[in-house]
């Protein structure tokens, strides 16, 4: 491998049902920053069936170039054809950096692609920078410049590690959704669009999709909410989430929950905040009856204001809360809802 041959920042522009996922635009935004530091361009790789129309949106959010891999085999996500698409793009276009979202799709696709092309992959990154490796000069070891430094939490969020991939290209990372900021949209901005099809011949590695079952969910995406009213096991029962829903309705928020609540079957997985759920950064996060396991905190600590209500005054959630209230949620939450109603009505 000649590392000098690899140029440019590529991002996987994930789409589902021919709608770009939020992470696609977040990666274009971050890719643009990295490309600027390297004096190069950001390319979005769009994979699917009949998806070419999405290229303009990627351009308006900052993509300089869009590579479109369009084939009927790519209609619904399946590991093998998507891995073939990305590995072929990498072999053909030789990017120095390739970013993929750490979504249920990207965390399956990324490892398969990195294993196919033999490069490193850093999972679930929360920060990406261009810098030197080693970070500080070490006598007798060459310090490489313009390396991708990939930072991620490990050990359940207890430590953070910064990883480099000095000897292989592309430097690959999956990036946690909701962490990077998308660039502001520039209407009418255009990108160079390149169509590329490496050919898709089904084999035993192509799994068959027997059925696609969409969760019937009319709830808003918790990652977009400005105010989250989040409940944990301390809420006590699925029925008792009613008091959280009432509060959310009055204050214009959305209900979310901890992993314990999902494991108990009280709420669906798409409402789960935390390391194995979603990372959220609302303006206000109410943590109600949530003890604050480190895996939960990893998914919400970036909220602007954290208000915790818990009867256990030693609960670790109070270590991250801006405002902690030790008390009975069953008394406080309904009273707060009523008080807010009166307060907002008076305005």
């Amino acid at each position: 491998m000649n590392i000098q041959d690899y140029k440019g920042v590529f991002v996987f522009a994930q789409q589902v049902d021919n709608v770009l996922s939020g992470i696609a635009l977040e990666l274009v935004g971050k890719g643009k920053d990295l490309a600027k530091d390297l004096g190069t361009e950001v390319t979005a790789v769009l994979v699917g069936s009949d998806v070419k129309g999405l290229a303009d949106e990627l351009a308006e959010y900052g993509a300089d170039k869009v590579i479109v891999v369009d084939d009927p085999e790519l209609k619904e996500y399946r590991t093998e054809p998507y891995a073939h698409a990305l590995a072929s793009v990498i072999n053909e276009f030789k990017p120095e950096i390739f970013l993929v979202g750490a979504t249920a799709i990207g965390r399956d696709l990324g490892p398969r692609v990195s294993a196919r092309i033999h490069t490193g992959l850093t999972a679930d990154c929360t920060q990406l920078d261009i810098g030197d490796f080693p970070i500080n000069p070490i006598p007798g070891k060459e310090q490489l410049h313009n390396q991708l430094l990939m930072t991620r939490p490990a050990f359940g969020g207890n430590t953070i590690a910064t990883i480099a991939c000095p000897d292989f290209r592309p430097q690959m990372a999956t990036v946690r959704p909701g962490v990077m900021q998308k660039a502001s949209r520039e209407a009418g901005r255009k990108a160079v669009v390149v169509e590329f099809n490496p050919g898709f011949t089904p084999n035993d590695k192509y799994v068959e999709i027997l059925e696609v079952v969409k969760a019937v969910s009319d709830v808003a995406d918790i990652m977009d909410a400005k105010i989250l009213v989040s409940g944990g096991r301390g809420v006590g029962s699925p029925e008792n989430f009613k008091i959280l829903e009432d509060l959310a309705e009055v204050i214009g928020g959305t209900v979310s929950c901890s992993r314990a609540v999902v494991d108990a079957g009280w709420k669906p997985k798409d409402l789960q905040v935390g390391q194995t759920g979603k990372t959220v950064r609302p303006n206000v996060y109410f943590a109600i009856g949530i003890s604050g396991a480190i895996q939960h905190v990893a998914g919400m600590e970036e909220a602007d204001i954290i208000i915790a209500i818990n009867k256990d005054d030693t609960a670790p959630i109070f270590d991250v809360a801006d405002y902690g209230i030790v008390g009975d949620l069953n008394k406080i939450v309904p009273a707060l809802t009523e008080r807010l109603k009166a307060e907002l009505a008076a305005k």
Binding site: P111, N158, T159, A164, P166, I251, D270, N283, D319, I332
Partner: protein
């Protein structure tokens, strides 16, 4: 049917993490457990064994101490345990780990390989899919339900807002979610048998079709530039008031911060 299950011995991060004075992880001071997602994968394999009849072989890579999780797996009902341990395998990233496990699994017959989705120490979810790529077989990640139909496996595969019902021809690799099932307990008889059971120990020489340049720290494309304890924003205020005062306190803060 032959099923291979990959498991990992991990520090129990729920009990908090202990550090050495130099900032590295003090693994000796922490309790270890079988990684929860792997345990769900093992339980899934044991249920297939109960339902269809199967031989379940558990493979782990780690220090000699990792033998403990193999004995636990056998006490739950696994038939064989294989420990892959060798000094030259140390410091492996997910590329080198998956190369090692693939090299070990090439010695075995298998219809299904089941791994946990991710380990609670690394949280990468990469090793399972990477093993499948090295072995050239299909992968189905995030399995929430597994059934066998003839020479194929039918799996419900979870996504954020949907699930797919997928059919793959075996051999196939599946990664399991902890939500998949409630793992069974070890039985007293099982514990007794497992204590006496023979554990197969393999080293570098037993790995098939793997180059030295793909093993251990030297075979790892990713390298650690820096590791540190996470700096968290400190605790704010904490009050212990009666419910009415608590409500006034929250209202006051929401006003100060211009939320209402």
């Amino acid at each position: 049917m032959k099923i291979v299950v990959c498991v990992k011995q991990v520090p129990d991060t729920k009990g908090g993490v202990k550090f050495n004075p130099d900032g590295t992880l003090d693994r000796g001071a922490m309790l270890t457990i079988m990684n929860p997602d792997d345990k769900a994968g093992l339980e899934a394999a044991l249920r297939l064994k109960d339902q269809y009849g199967a031989e379940v072989t558990v493979v782990t890579m780690g220090l000699p101490k990792a033998e403990e999780v193999l004995r636990e797996a056998m006490a739950m009902g696994a038939d064989k345990g294989i420990l892959v341990t060798d000094r030259v395998l140390g410091g492996a990233d997910t590329w080198a780990t998956s190369q090692t496990l693939a090299g070990a699994i090439r010695n075995l017959e298998y219809d299904l390989i089941i791994t946990g989705r991710q380990a609670i120490d690394g949280d990468t979810a990469q090793v399972g899919p990477q093993i499948s790529e090295h072995l050239g077989i299909p992968v189905i990640s995030y399995a929430q339900k597994i059934q066998i139909e003839g020479d194929s496996v039918i799996v419900e595969r979870q996504y954020d807002d949907r699930y797919h019902v997928l059919k793959a021809k075996m051999p196939c690799l599946i990664t399991a979610l902890a939500e998949l099932n409630e793992p069974r307990y070890m039985t007293p008889g099982g514990i007794f048998d497992a204590y006496n059971a023979e554990i197969t120990v393999w080293g570098r020489a037993n790995l098939v079709d793997v180059e030295d340049s793909n093993l251990g720290l030297k075979g790892s494309p990713t390298q650690i530039a820096k590791a540190s304890d996470k700096v968290r924003k400190g605790a704010g205020e904490k009050v212990n008031l009666d419910p009415t005062e608590s409500v006034e306190y929250i209202i006051d803060k929401l006003k100060v911060k211009h939320v209402i």
